[in-house]
């Protein structure tokens, strides 16, 4: 530490240059900093704990299922604390025999990748021997070393015992590799050779780390829209313009002053039914609100939104706790904070004019409103300390759900559309009806009609009181027509309180903390027991969730960290680095608004793109396909059955029980015909990882999905027998880019990605082509091209791809080792 003290810190002079005494004191304080007491045993002990944890944490996140636990041939070494690091290195023991040297000695080969399942595609591979090899052997090993899938590498000896194998281009993602060195090539100075070939097997990460020419994980690159307080609430205002409440951190300029923004402490007059625009608030501004009517705009403390290419629009001159735009876009409702800590619900025109208070009525007591939304009948559904209420534009209010004693508004989340709400356990406790299980039988009754502004709270039929646990979470459906409130449904798992609804209000997602790590679950609001785990969700640190319109894209606010936006199938669409809050998707899901570092930011989000080859017609089918393959990998018989149409081949029987991984290679969407509905035909790869005693196996299955009354279901499944991966190139994915609208020469571009480095001269129209469903070969605009950096071949055809188009990989295609693909390999694409 003394060397740090000796260094001159010029910034101190800058800081205290005008106060020499303070500068001297600062320098003295700096020099006096104490050396910490440190137990020398602590660093290695902590290191060992971290390394043990790292083995489980630093695993692939985007596979449909984690690979199996690494298998090993033999492992030596202490697993004591200090030796935990060595666990990352698997030590393979092979016998040295022959020659005239004393027999029975073992040569130890260690590799940094052996039987690891999430190797970075950029990582160099090292192989170490327990003694130096002969100079002749060093040369022999370099020439004899093979890697499958065929990959260009450089091979160099770091020392006489250690060999370094470096891929020229990043390895393929989610691929099993095998490095072999024939035993004859390995010989020590005494002439000893190995008893068997050296074989090192490993798998790469599921998602490729960006290579020199690959696309990096995209940054969202948000744009700052305006200032926002740290507790500001981002919302989407009229015309899908981003907005924020309580932007007290500063004032956007210029501000469009609302026509009326008084404090709602005086007597308001009821507005004519359904026409708040025609009924300006007839309240008298209080003296304390004089600034709101001053000619110069006061700093915005209510809610402001930012229309594109227009001046910001201030909706209210007072802080608001919630904002929502009516479904028809004609009105904005705000929960405006009052001086006494309660709220007034105010309805305004989108330009902030004609503000009219709709709740509470003159004769009723107010309360703090923590959330509000519009339902489909132009009612405003809102949450207060005692329950969930609704009020219409004629100021008629009713209570939809009453919290029990001990319940509160804290933690209640209201769905957009006002059709449902998430309730913490305390808000269900003691209610008759929902038992301690997830299937309450009794129902809740809402007030009959909504004509009276002071209707009685919900009542319930007598039943055993529910005794909650703190982590229970419930979903309650809210009636829109005065009917019965169904009994709440308990959400699966231990709910952390991090819950969100989709922008359309039809999906709910929550963080389940019942396991050792968190999982994110998503379900339709209409059936919250049909749960889908969200692939690729962060295992912890999720502070907030947001869903796009229907839950196809999900955004996480992480702590520590920024925002991560992913598709529901786990593809990362973008990230931001800064701590953020109040995430909200625009209704079309293409923009994400949030509050970060004192500002309202909006980031463009790539929409949850369809998988390779699909079109919007089959977007929903893609989600079902992903779930289905995920069920296969998880050996989830019930999941497969749920996603399979009655009468279709039994997926549970056809799916090999030994598969450990799987992914979709490509798919093709076909529109409905006179005799059948739309279909999606997909190719998916199922994989069995290699073990020390058996080689890896794969099979490419064909899955057909059809649209039925119950949504998209698997209607056909063909699973060829598993076979060894073998040599020769394999297709990793196929994708199609449709013609650009309005292009002079519209073209479709098909991209085929391989796991092997190909012999470029073998890529041509006779080794790679496109066929229609009836076997016609499509004419390419030019011969296929191949990019060795990305291992991608590109085929271009004029116009759109016909339905049922397939990529055909001929046996004349060759990798750099002369390997060829299996005959008859076809993959659906586009259509």
């Amino acid at each position: 530490m003394s060397e740090r003290r000796d260094r001159f810190d010029a910034e101190l002079s800058e800081l205290f240059g005008e106060d020499p005494d303070l500068l001297r004191l600062a320098q003295a304080v700096r020099e006096s900093r104490p050396d910490p007491d440190l137990d020398p045993r602590f660093p290695p002990i902590l290191r060992a704990r971290l390394m043990a944890e790292a083995r489980t944490v630093l695993a692939p996140r985007h596979t449909l299922q984690p690979r199996g636990a690494p298998r090993r041939l033999a492992i030596w070494g202490s697993f004591g604390a200090a030796a935990a690091l060595a666990a990352a290195v698997v030590v393979v023991v092979v016998a040295l025999t022959g020659g005239t040297a004393p027999p029975g000695r073992l040569a130890v080969v260690a590799s940094n990748v052996s039987h690891r399942q999430a190797v970075d595609p950029h990582q160099a591979i090292t192989l170490s021997f327990n003694e130096p090899l002969s100079p002749q052997s060093e040369a022999a090993v370099v020439s004899a070393l093979k890697i499958q899938p065929a990959t260009q590498v450089t091979v160099a000896w770091q020392s006489a015992e250690t060999l370094v194998v470096t891929p020229i281009h990043p390895l393929a993602a989610d691929t099993d590799y095998q490095v072999t060195i024939p035993k004859a090539a390995i010989q020590n100075a005494g002439g000893q050779t190995l008893a068997s070939n050296v074989t090192i097997e490993f798998g790469t990460q599921a998602v490729a780390t960006p290579g020199p020419t690959a696309s990096p994980v995209p940054a969202l690159e948000p744009a700052t829209v305006g200032p926002a307080a740290g507790d500001g609430l981002a919302f989407w205002g009229p015309d899908d313009a981003p907005g924020v409440t309580d932007s007290s951190a500063g004032q956007p300029a210029p501000i469009q002053t609302p026509n009326a923004s008084p404090a709602f402490t005086a007597t308001p007059q009821p507005s004519p039914a359904g026409s708040p625009a025609a009924s300006p608030l007839n309240a008298t501004p209080s003296p304390s609100n004089a600034a709101a009517t001053a000619p110069t705009p006061a700093p915005v403390e209510g809610a402001v939104y930012f229309p594109a290419d227009q001046a910001p629009v201030a909706l209210s001159g007072l802080p608001s706790t919630a904002v929502a735009v009516s479904p028809d876009g004609l009105y904005v409702a705000l929960a405006v904070s009052q001086a006494d800590g309660t709220s007034a619900i105010v309805v305004e025109n989108p330009d902030g004019s004609s503000a009219s208070r709709v709740w509470p009525s003159e004769s009723s007591a107010g309360a703090l409103v923590t959330a509000l939304s519009w339902d489909g009948t132009n009612r405003i559904v809102f949450v207060t300390h005692d329950g969930i209420h609704a009020v219409d534009l004629d100021d008629r209010s009713s209570q939809l759900y009453q919290f029990p004693v001990g319940g509160s508004a804290s933690g209640v989340v209201l769905a957009a559309g006002g059709q449902a709400a998430f309730l913490p356990a305390a808000d269900v406790a003691g209610q008759a009806g929902p038992g301690a299980t997830a299937s309450p039988s009794a129902s809740f009754t809402s007030p009959s009609g909504a004509a009276s502004p002071t209707t009685s709270p919900a009542s319930a039929t007598p039943a055993a009181p529910y005794v909650p646990t703190a982590e229970d979470g419930w979903l309650v459906t809210l009636p829109t027509n005065g009917g019965q409130v169904p009994a709440p449904t308990r959400l699966a798992g231990s709910v952390s309180g991090v819950v969100t609804f989709s922008a359309a209000g039809d999906e709910v997602a929550w963080v389940d903390v019942s396991g050792s790590t968190s999982t994110v679950l998503e379900a339709p609001v209409s059936d919250p027991t049909t749960i889908t785990p969200v692939s690729g969700a962060p295992a912890e640190g999720i502070g907030e969730l947001a869903l796009d319109a229907h839950g196809a894209t999900i955004a996480y606010a992480l702590d520590p960290g920024g925002i991560e936006v992913e598709t529901a199938s786990g593809t990362v669409l973008g990230t931001t680095p800064d701590e953020s809050s109040s995430l909200a998707f625009s209704t079309d899901g293409t923009r994400l608004a949030f509050v970060a570092a004192g500002s309202l930011d909006v980031a463009q989000v790539q929409t949850a793109s369809a998988p390779p080859g699909t079109t919007s017609l089959c977007e929903d089918a893609d989600q079902v396909l992903t779930r289905f393959v995920g069920s296969q990998v998880a050996h989830d018989q019930a999941g497969m059955a749920t996603l399979t149409s009655p009468g279709a081949p039994p997926a549970g029987t056809l799916t090999p029980s030994s598969i450990e991984r799987g992914y979709v290679i490509g798919s093709s969407c076909a529109a409905a015909s006179a005799t059948s509905g739309p279909t999606l035909t997909a190719s998916a790869r199922l994989i069995v990882d290699p073990t020390p005693t058996s080689p890896g196996q794969i099979t490419d299955e064909t899955v057909v999905l059809g649209e039925t009354d119950g949504g998209w279901l698997v209607t056909g499944l063909t699973v060829p027998p598993l076979h060894t991966q073998g040599s020769g190139p394999h297709v990793l994915s196929v994708s199609a880019t449709p013609p650009v609208a309005g292009a002079v020469n519209p073209e479709s571009v098909v991209t085929v990605t391989f796991d092997s480095d190909l012999e470029a001269s073998s890529v041509g129209a006779t080794s790679l082509w496109l066929e229609t469903g009836d076997g016609q070969t499509l004419v390419l605009v030019s011969p296929p091209t191949y990019d060795p950096d990305t291992r991608e071949a590109t085929l271009i055809v004029s116009g759109s791809l016909p339905a049922g188009t397939e990529v055909v990989v001929g046996t004349s295609l060759a990798d750099i080792d002369g390997g060829h693909p299996a005959a008859g390999a076809t993959y659906p694409v586009g259509g």
Partner: protein, 187 residues
């Protein structure tokens, strides 16, 4: 010793999936983080607890880490600052600040006194009595020699705001030591 930036970037990328690489980061940054934790907590057990939490959190968040253009250590310090704040929220300081500084000799200039090791603990105890943000900024500047810009990154503040925090912190220390000196005269 500072890691070459290009090497650190490469190491951090590898550490997202490679335990060995994370171990190398730990080896490099353990000292800094432990020292920072100790400077703030002034307690060996607490410093160990905080340091463990920092590296465990970093490990678990590693796959999601995105470079911000600042050194990796900024992120670790950021986690550390939060962990230390949590620590103090859970356990209020037991030692009396007044007790720590009451025996200062008021007859000598403050800057002269603090260079003596006997005085050092009292001076840093005076820092402990500053508001949270000032404490953090002071410790990172005077205890860790970090640049103001990096402290700003860690604390989520502008460089100007950090300057203000350090400046006010130093004035606070001077006042506290001066006040204690007066108090000492009355004892």
């Amino acid at each position: 010793m500072t890691l070459p930036r290009a090497y650190e970037d490469q190491l951090v990328e590898r550490a997202k999936t490679d335990a060995d690489a994370f171990g190398e980061l730990y080896d490099h940054y353990f000292g800094q983080i432990y020292r920072f934790a100790y400077s703030r907590t002034r307690d060996q057990d607490a410093a160990e607890e905080v340091t463990q939490e920092v590296f465990m959190k970093a490990l678990r968040a590693m796959p999601r880490y995105r470079p911000s253009g600042h050194p990796f250590s900024s992120w670790l310090y950021q986690i550390s600052a939060n962990a230390i704040a949590d620590h103090f929220r859970q356990r209020r300081p037991q030692a009396s600040l007044d007790a720590a500084i009451e025996i200062a000799d008021p007859t000598r200039p403050v800057a002269e006194r603090v260079v003596e090791s006997a005085e050092a603990a009292r001076v840093w105890a005076a820092i402990d009595g500053l508001p949270e943000q000032q404490r953090t900024a002071m410790t990172l500047k005077l205890g860790e020699d970090l640049k103001l810009a990096q402290i700003g990154e860690i604390m989520g503040k502008s460089e100007g705001a950090v300057k203000l925090l350090v400046h006010r912190g130093m004035i606070g220390v001077r006042q506290r030591l001066g006040v204690s000196a007066v108090a000492g005269e009355t004892l």
